[in-house]
């Protein structure tokens, strides 16, 4: 009941004209940032951080948080319409979302993405309202061995994502691992595979890889088809999800919400990992996995819910422990510190106004975003009518600005270009790009948690058996692999 009282206080704080305005402004900016390819929430937050100095702590935090989850709403838009992810957490949405758009069902895909985001965001904040301190206390126990087991489970799931030739898919996973190894060794601090280059010592930037592989590749692919003037044939069937769409989507939404929430809590996890794992999970559970990649609405509903739930999940450790789990939440923490607020276990009791204000704003923000995004569906769909000789140069330009804005490093643009060309060649040769990206995202976490676990264990690898949670997840992974090996691929591989 304490939570209800707190929440009422929070609504009292948030339902004032200026705080509502900041929440709306943040949602609007977040949506925009999500829609613009390349420009992600991190760059936007860093850019807008100074503006919040002049606001009250509540106003500033409400705006920054709403940009973060607002971006998850907007991110799916270009994925679905253009096959170009708005930000890294929407890469998987391209796979089925864009296929739906090609079939004239862009409206349904956009609608389900917005509704999934709303459901997950709201469920996340409800859980946060009642259980934040408890969840934080459990999450903090989650150590390197548990993290390692979770990442193994993740890698096994990605194997389900491979379409077409398993050999080619496995090759892309391996390449993803290898590419992720470039940079500073997480354990001894030495440079690996950098060939003396200062730029490579920073490792290869995820955003540049994603925008290159998906954005630039897509532009190159479309340049070939000069004869067709617009992206999608004129027919655009129905703007809204049908009853069948709903039936197919509600379970993936709920599963995505749960999975995303948990992955948001884990150190190093967050919306990107959550969206990929949700896609893999839905494909695994689906009665018709062959439909994935050909416009299955589950492949949109799951990941788009998961990335929003991950936002709620990742805000909990920041507010109730003062511990950020990813770069965006680290920035939120910095914003609080600049306002002279030190989040920690005592934050909720010391600054109830701030904590409950932020929680209440997330309820309001999710409603605002749904109201903002649903009417936009009709508008976005019209974008498909823009001739691509106009659309793609703009998209390419925005991608360049977005990738540069993340680190202000020109080298990242070369990485983007390089991966764009590589992606084009690989897609011609029928190699899947998604397994590469997921391996690239998971590999550093996998390596680090493995080496941390071994470093902290006096008994070597025994640590993975000694900890029950770890052992359970590792056994599940082994069972999944066994199942995969036993099940003969139906109808052979393409």
């Amino acid at each position: 009941m304490e939570a209800v009282g707190g929440l009422l206080t929070g609504f009292g704080i948030i339902l004032t004209l200026d705080n509502l305005f900041f929440c709306f402004l943040g949602s609007l900016i977040g949506t925009l940032v999500g829609v613009l390819p390349g420009v992600g929430p991190l760059a936007a937050l860093a850019l807008l951080l100074p503006i919040t100095f002049t606001m009250t702590p509540v106003g500033g935090m409400v705006m920054l948080a709403s940009i973060f989850y607002g971006a998850m709403y907007g991110g799916s838009t270009t994925s679905i319409l253009l096959n170009i992810p708005g930000e890294a957490a929407s890469v998987v949405t391209c796979l089925d979302g864009h296929q739906m758009a090609k079939q004239g069902r862009a409206g349904a895909a956009l609608g389900i993405a917005a509704i999934g985001s709303f459901v997950a965001g709201t469920l996340g904040v409800i859980v946060m309202t009642f259980f934040a301190p408890t969840i934080a206390a459990v999450a903090i126990r989650f150590g390197p061995p548990e993290n390692f087991a979770l990442m193994v489970l993740g890698i096994v799931c990605t194997l389900f994502m491979i379409t077409g030739s398993p050999v080619k898919g496995a090759l892309m996973v391996a390449l993803g691992f290898l590419t992720a190894a470039v940079g500073i060794d997480v354990v001894n601090g030495r440079e690996r595979f950098t060939f003396g280059s200062i730029d490579l010592s920073a490792g290869i930037e995820l955003l540049a890889v994603v925008i290159g592989l998906f954005g630039v590749t897509e532009v190159l692919n479309n340049v070939e088809r000069v004869v067709k003037s617009t992206l999608v044939a004129e027919r655009i069937r129905g703007l809204w999800p049908t009853l069948a769409d709903w039936k197919a989507s509600w379970r993936p939404m709920l599963r995505g919400s749960g999975l995303g929430f948990v992955l948001g809590l884990v150190p190093g996890g967050g919306p990107v990992t959550a969206s990929f794992m949700s896609y893999a999970l839905e494909k695994r559970l689906s009665a018709h996995p062959d439909g994935f990649g050909k416009g299955a609405i589950e492949g949109v509903a799951g990941p788009e819910s998961a990335n929003n739930a991950a936002v709620a999940g990742s805000i909990i450790p920041v507010l109730s422990l003062g511990i950020p789990s990813n770069a965006v939440t680290a920035l939120l923490l910095g914003a609080l510190v600049i306002h002279g607020v030190q989040p920690g276990p005592l934050f909720i009791t010391q600054r109830p106004d701030l904590f409950w204000g932020i929680v209440a704003s997330m309820y309001v923000g999710n409603v605002l975003l749904l109201l903002l995004n649903l009417p936009l569906v009709g508008l976005w769909v019209q974008f498909l009518r823009i001739p691509y000789r106009v659309l793609f140069p703009v998209v390419l330009l925005l991608s360049i600005v977005g990738v540069y804005s993340a680190n202000k490093n020109v080298f990242d643009l070369w990485v983007m270009l390089g991966f764009g060309v590589a992606g084009y060649v690989l897609s011609k040769l029928k190699y899947d790009l998604a397994p590469f990206v997921i391996a690239f995202v998971l590999a550093p976490l996998l390596e680090q948690s493995l080496r941390q676990s071994l470093a902290m264990s006096p008994d070597g690898a025994m640590i993975f058996i000694q900890r029950p949670g770890t052992a359970l997840m590792l056994v599940s992974s082994a069972l999944l692999v066994a199942l995969m090996v036993r099940r003969k691929p139906k109808g052979g591989s393409r």
Binding site: L42, L45, A46, L49, P50, F53, I140, R141, F142, G143, P144, G183, I184, D185, V186, V187, N188, G189, R190, E191, G196, I198, D199, S201, A202, G203, E205, P267, L321, G322, I323, P324, A327, A330, L331, L332, L333, G334, A335, V337, I338, G340, Q342, P343, G344, P345, L346, F347, N407, K408, N409, Q448, R451, Q452, A455, M456, S457, P458
Partner: protein, 340 residues
């Protein structure tokens, strides 16, 4: 909270009172030093670590007060990657020495220059123009489990009696590692070093019972320490910190076991690329000094949990004392075979 207030009052008294009188003159002094042709565009403060971290908070607060005192627009830009390596190299080799680029950096740059720059640049390519603040590396211990009541000395003795059992969080290739290395070399203890990507992640692991000792800065563990989830046990500085009066220095606590050179801290200061015109350099430095004399900025820094090294707050001796710190660090690298 109470200690904080006292520390704040104490330090404010120490630093601000004599400075307060000069504040009125700061604008006049700045006007006198201002070159005729500079600045005509916003000045960029480059931060080599991500937005939101300790370095970024320091830079953004500074920018706010430099704007207040000099009436020039300051843009804070984060050029990140490779744990600062990319930004350091940018400042030393690419940034134009025209006064429009100021680096807000930390002494971690020295280690990058000496160990990782591979001759592509050196720390003398960046010239200090103003000292900002410091953070001392502190060892923190658990508040539950078998080690909950142990002092840093008892913990180190445990690691000596039962080598390879005590788990200590570290950040590879940095002062976190070096401090452990010194303790091990001096005392004969042997710990399990668990690598993390930053101090905060290690503190998280301590609070979750996944390591037994973590190392970090006051600003990073204050929240958890206030809640009794972790406790500071030793400070790697020559003197106790004003907000951690009850926490001994590592030199005090481990003195009996040998070794007294445990001094590892982050010093944050402003630099310009070598070759920046002298008049612009002097003006930029004066603008930062004016901001640093503003009691409001000092209060904001103290609230963020940092301290001010008396050896560096004296502008006249800053350069010489920074050099002394560089030499101490170099001596450690040479002694441990990292540098020839």
């Amino acid at each position: 909270m109470k200690e904080n207030t006292i520390a704040l009052a104490l330090l404010s008294a120490l630093l601000v009172t004599p400075a307060a009188a000069q504040n009125g003159d700061a604008k006049a002094e700045l006007a006198r030093l201002k070159p005729g042709d500079f600045p005509t565009a916003p000045i960029e403060y480059t931060v080599v670590y991500p937005a939101g971290g300790g370095m970024d908070v320091t830079a953004r607060l500074l920018a706010k007060y430099v704007e207040k005192w000099s009436d020039h627009r300051i843009i804070v830009n984060n050029r990140t990657g490779g744990a600062g390596m990319v930004g350091h190299a940018y400042l030393a080799t690419q940034a134009k020495p025209d006064g429009y680029t100021v680096g807000i950096i930390a002494n971690l740059m020295w280690g990058d220059a000496m160990l990782r720059a591979q001759g592509r640049w050196t720390y003398t390519d960046l010239e200090p123009i103003g000292y900002l603040n410091s953070d001392a590396l502190t060892w923190i211990g658990p508040t539950e489990g078998p080690y909950k009541d142990m002092s840093v000395k008892q913990l180190v003795e445990t690691a000596k009696d039962k080598p390879g059992t005590l788990r200590v969080a570290t950040v590879p290739g940095s002062m976190w590692d070096y401090l452990i290395e010194q303790v091990e070399a001096n005392t004969g203890a042997k710990v399990l070093r668990v690598p993390f990507q930053g101090g905060g992640a290690g503190i998280n692991a301590l609070a979750g019972g996944n390591v037994d000792i973590a190392q970090g800065f006051y600003s990073e563990f204050r929240g958890l320490a206030d809640a009794g989830k972790v406790r500071p046990i030793g400070v790697a500085a020559s003197e106790r910190l004003s907000f951690l009066k009850d926490t001994p220095t590592m030199n005090e606590a481990l003195g009996g076991l040998g070794g007294n050179e445990y001094q590892w801290f982050v010093i944050r200061f402003a630099v310009v690329p070598k070759g920046t015109p002298e008049d612009r350099k002097a003006y930029l430095g004066a603008a930062i000094r004016a901001a640093m004399k503003d009691p409001e900025l000092v209060a904001e820094y103290l609230k963020a949990g940092v301290y001010f090294d008396p050896k560096l707050t004296d502008a006249a001796r800053m350069q010489a004392n920074l050099n002394a710190y560089v030499e101490a660090e170099r001596a450690f690298y040479v002694k441990t075979g990292r540098l020839k």
